[in-house]
Subunit: 317 residues, 2 copies
């Protein structure tokens, strides 16, 4: 029997016919894989070795139970794991983090806006009342003085119900509104950031579903790969799992859910109630095509898919 | 029957014996109350009028049902209401708003810290792991570069499990940490702000209970006045209402609560479990004295009360 060559993640090992180790080369952490390949070829020629078959491998493997290999094996293993962890982060992971942060920020800005409104009621009640949009309210408070604000509303200062506060007290309210304004800005920053990421990894999905729904679909499935593998009917009710299982438990009382995460899409929001199911089906269909094209890096198809939907339902978005 | 003088919030009105209006003076919005008083005296002398008795008033009042007084009455009423609303804001209201904001900020910083840690795990996992304090974590992330951070932890960059991200991706994480750091700063700002307010309106309560517990007691009762009227036994279990009513419903199973909002006080936290009830009773006692002295603007007594507690339980705070 001739010499045999056995390779594993530590390197290449040449054994003779009695399965005794003759020679070996190790893969250094930083060594080039091509260089290792050529070194392997050389050592094969030198010992006239052939690569180990499955049967031969099982004999050879006992050699590696020796403790002297342990440390080397552990190190090698760690370095491979480390590399694969490092490379496991892709754009879809980043999108998932950004969209989760946006949802957190929505909760937070709501909470702080409520607090700011209440607090501001004692200093500037007319403004708390006049501006119902939270973001605009916070911006206005933090950018204008009370005199300006009352002037804008045509209210005489004596007629205002606000108390005269000390500088210290006013600055406490203003600090809150400034932080709130910054949080609103951060939300916008993340919206744009998500779009730039989506332009890279899922331009077609972005075109068909819109950036927010695309991001939420990705967050729900975790990766683009998993989303690309789903049939349209699953995509249609992603996020409506509770309703789905309620339906499966009791078909008479609870209808099948028409849509999950995609219910916020303008195509569904703007269509009539009777058309909701039809629109959701068509949208999920196109999304499933778009995401498959994105995953397999096909030719851009988003615009065409979107136009199909727009012309079918006569709803522009 | 001589002339009679009837006064109401619109002004002074002189009627003859047949309850016909003879003369009147109105209180102008900005007029001095003393000037009005002297004008009233003059008109009384001039018509030899006496102030209306209850019986006479009831006859006179019909005169004011005339529609011509309506507008004047409404205006007068509004202006008085406006003034009393304006003056209703006192330091305790501001403390209540500030402490509520602090509690909101606690929730928010917790939520965002969790999000930041998760997000940062893909870029800088070693740091997410090394620093357990949220505020310190956020400060560190936002102030140092990844190289510096790894250097501080003595970790080789190749050994780090973090992925190499693009500039855009890193800045998304950093923006979050900067906002979070600002929110932590805002919380500290409010802590100081509450102390300055408390130094003004309840220095003794501040001394005995500490700023946070003092503020929470005020938030629970709404005003210093209401807190000052409460007996020590009520103050002891403020904030433990659910436990109290559970006890009242079922005395066998559920014990009387030992303490409510004051349970965070170092005197209780640091004492032994067996001493908790005793410490809570003593603390509530001293708080109730302090808050009464504060409300009636008595001589400073906070230091003495605190020293009594410290020496009784040998716990310094």
């Amino acid at each position: 029997m001739p010499n045999i060559l056995f390779t594993n993640l530590m390197g290449g090992f040449v054994f003779d016919e009695k399965f005794k180790l003759v020679d070996y080369i190790l893969i250094d952490q930083n060594r080039d894989i091509l260089k290792f390949r050529s070194a392997l070829d050389e050592i094969m020629k030198k010992y006239e070795a052939h690569e180990a078959s499955d049967l031969e491998s099982s004999f050879v493997i006992t050699e590696f139970t020796d403790i002297k290999y342990r440390k080397h094996l552990v190190e090698k293993n760690l370095s491979i794991t480390r590399k694969s962890i490092k490379n496991s982060v892709s754009e879809d992971t980043l999108i998932v983090h950004a969209i989760s942060s946006i949802e957190d920020l929505d909760k937070i800005t709501n909470l702080l806006s409520k607090r700011l409104r209440e607090w501001n009621y004692i200093y500037n009640p007319e403004i708390s009342h006049a501006i119902s949009d939270n973001e605009k309210f916070s911006n206005t408070i933090s950018s204008k003085s009370r005199e300006q604000l009352l002037n804008d509303l045509n209210i005489d200062e004596d007629m205002s119900l606000g108390s005269k506060l000390k500088k210290n007290d006013i600055s406490a309210i203003l600090s809150l509104s400034q932080q709130l304004t910054n949080l609103f800005k951060l939300r916008k920053h993340y919206e744009k950031y998500i779009i730039t990421l989506e332009m890279e990894i899922c331009p077609n999905l972005l075109e068909v579903a819109g950036s927010q729904i695309a991001a939420k679909l990705l967050r729900h499935t975790g990766t683009l790969k998993r989303l690309a593998r789903m049939p349209a009917s699953t995509i249609q009710i992603l996020g409506a799992e509770r309703a789905l299982f309620r339906h499966l438990r009791n078909k008479r009382k609870n209808l099948m859910p028409k849509h999950g995460l995609i219910h916020e899409h303008p195509l569904i929001l703007k269509s009539k109630l009777k058309q909701h199911a039809k629109a959701a089906r068509a949208l999920a269909d196109k999304i499933s095509i778009a995401v498959k094209v994105d995953f397999f890096k096909g030719k851009p198809i988003g615009k065409k898919l979107k136009n199909d939907l727009v012309s079918k339902f006569s709803i522009d978005y």
